[in-house]
């Protein structure tokens, strides 16, 4: 009898231990205009671990992240065309619900019809990358020709900006990016992923074209030439490519000082050197690994990766930016 009681107590303890009390995080997500954001994925990560949880907002924009281990959780929610939400170290206590309401904010986007969340979703629906082997040129090299959708970042890397670069980016952002070259119909940031871009490839050069940037194209020379001895500073830089097996390695230097480096408004110095490694592993995908070296703004080289899908039915439309750039007259800074 005593033994039975002991075993039962032991089992109860074991069950209790296995089902350690969990906690939850609950709240609602609202759009910048205050409306309820339905269908938004809220991601949680136990701080410093690989343990994750996920919830999707339902009616009223409400969500509950249930069965969370007690401790610190990092929360993120991303909606296309809006500023990404992130809050670190949200504490969860056993048996309790932590309240977290998320108000999404406008980002650096225009967030107007054609450039808003619905447009991003409609564009995403058009993605249907074809399958098949890597197309090749007559001399056997992978052929990157085609129209490519905006690549998705698969590894953002960890840029270590120098204080001077952080300060300039902060000032530019605080000033509403009013002075961004792109707003003045000059080329957009160097490593910016454009909504669509097209490659036209021949043996001696690769031409990249865009339809939301001016002038909207630049050349990458594949003919074995060297960078000029005397730097000729260019908005898209001086770009030379060579093959390492099936990888096209593009070496870019000599960037015009006025061009911004990335969409987060960081500057660059005359020491900027970018190495891009492109692969087309199959018909429908273009892999890009980009390394940014610039001792003037980065403590060490920053490498990030992204993958684009082929958009075989898409076309690049002309983009005459100065045609009707009426925004400049209305733009205000800090």
């Amino acid at each position: 009898m005593r033994t039975t009681f002991f075993l039962a107590a032991l089992c109860a303890t074991a069950v209790a231990f296995a089902q350690a009390p969990k906690g939850s995080i609950a709240g609602a997500v609202t759009n910048p205009n205050g409306s309820q954001a339905v269908g938004v994925t809220v991601n949680a990560r136990l701080t410093g671990s690989t343990t994750t949880a996920r919830a999707t907002t339902a009616a009223g924009g409400k969500f509950t992240l249930a069965d969370l281990a007690p401790g610190s959780w990092d929360i993120a929610a991303n909606v296309p065309a809006l500023k990404g939400f992130e809050q670190k170290n949200v504490m969860v206590e056993a048996g309790k619900t932590t309240a977290l309401n998320i108000r999404l904010e406008e980002g650096t986007q225009m967030s107007t019809l054609g450039e808003d969340t619905l447009a991003a979703m409609a564009h995403a629906k058009r993605h249907n990358a074809p399958t098949g082997p890597t197309p090749r040129t007559v001399d056997g090299k992978p052929d990157f020709s085609g129209v490519w959708w905006q690549p998705v970042v698969t590894d953002p890397g960890k840029p270590e900006w120098l204080p001077k670069a952080i300060e300039i980016a902060r000032q530019r952002t605080e000033n509403n990016r009013k002075d961004s070259p792109q707003a003045h119909c000059l080329p957009s940031a160097i490593v910016r992923a454009r909504p669509l871009h097209q490659f036209v490839q021949s043996k001696d050069f690769l031409v990249e074209m865009f339809d939301d940037d001016s002038p909207g194209f630049h050349q990458i020379y594949l003919d074995g030439r060297q960078h000029p001895k005397e730097a000729d500073y260019l908005w898209y830089g001086d770009s030379l490519g060579h093959w390492e097996g099936d990888t096209l390695v593009i070496d870019r230097v000599n960037f015009e000082e006025a061009v911004w480096l990335d969409q987060d408004s960081h500057p660059h110095s005359e020491m900027l050197h970018i190495i891009e490694r492109y692969r087309r592993p199959d018909m429908g995908h273009l892999e890009q690994e980009i390394t940014v070296e610039d001792p003037g703004v980065l403590a060490k080289p920053w490498t990030f990766k992204r993958v684009a899908e082929l958009g075989p039915s898409e076309t690049i439309r002309e983009f005459m930016c100065t045609e009707n750039n009426r925004d400049l007259d209305h733009m205000v800074g800090k």
Partner: protein
């Protein structure tokens, strides 16, 4: 909930999972518009400009005293709108519309268009035109 709303809810879920890269704009929203100043304008379209870097249209809006003000409304660029199935004739002079948007910070009679609804309830420039047509 309509089928279309269901679709958008599901699409949003799918997007959340896939982390689709956002579309990018020619200039910053915050430099020109105030997200704390939403506005609703109803009136007749007077002109459409199917131009870069942004398409624009103009609407005559009557105030309660009968005075008419011509408002300028900013859209995305024609390339992005055309990819959604819209054209320069999707909205024409004479169309009656209700526009929701955000006011310009500098006090001009200017707003960015977050939604455009025709008198018959049809939404213009939202999502894609094929979905609008199937509702």
């Amino acid at each position: 909930m309509s089928i279309r709303k269901h679709f958008f809810a599901l699409a949003a879920v799918a997007l959340g999972l896939c982390v689709v890269a956002p579309v990018s704009a020619h200039h910053s929203f915050a430099a020109e518009y105030d997200s704390k100043k939403p506005v609703t304008l109803t009136g007749k379209v007077t002109k459409m400009e199917w131009t870069n870097p942004h398409a624009r249209f103009y609407v005559d809006v009557k105030d309660p005293n009968g005075a008419v003000t011509n408002w300028e409304l900013e859209l995305g660029s024609p390339n992005g709108l055309m990819r959604l199935g819209w054209t320069r004739s999707s909205l024409k002079a004479g169309d009656s519309v209700t526009v929701e948007g955000y006011l310009a910070k500098d006090g001009a009679k200017l707003a960015n268009a977050k939604s455009v609804v025709m008198a018959d309830g049809k939404k213009v420039f939202a999502g894609s035109s094929s979905e609008e047509g199937s509702k």
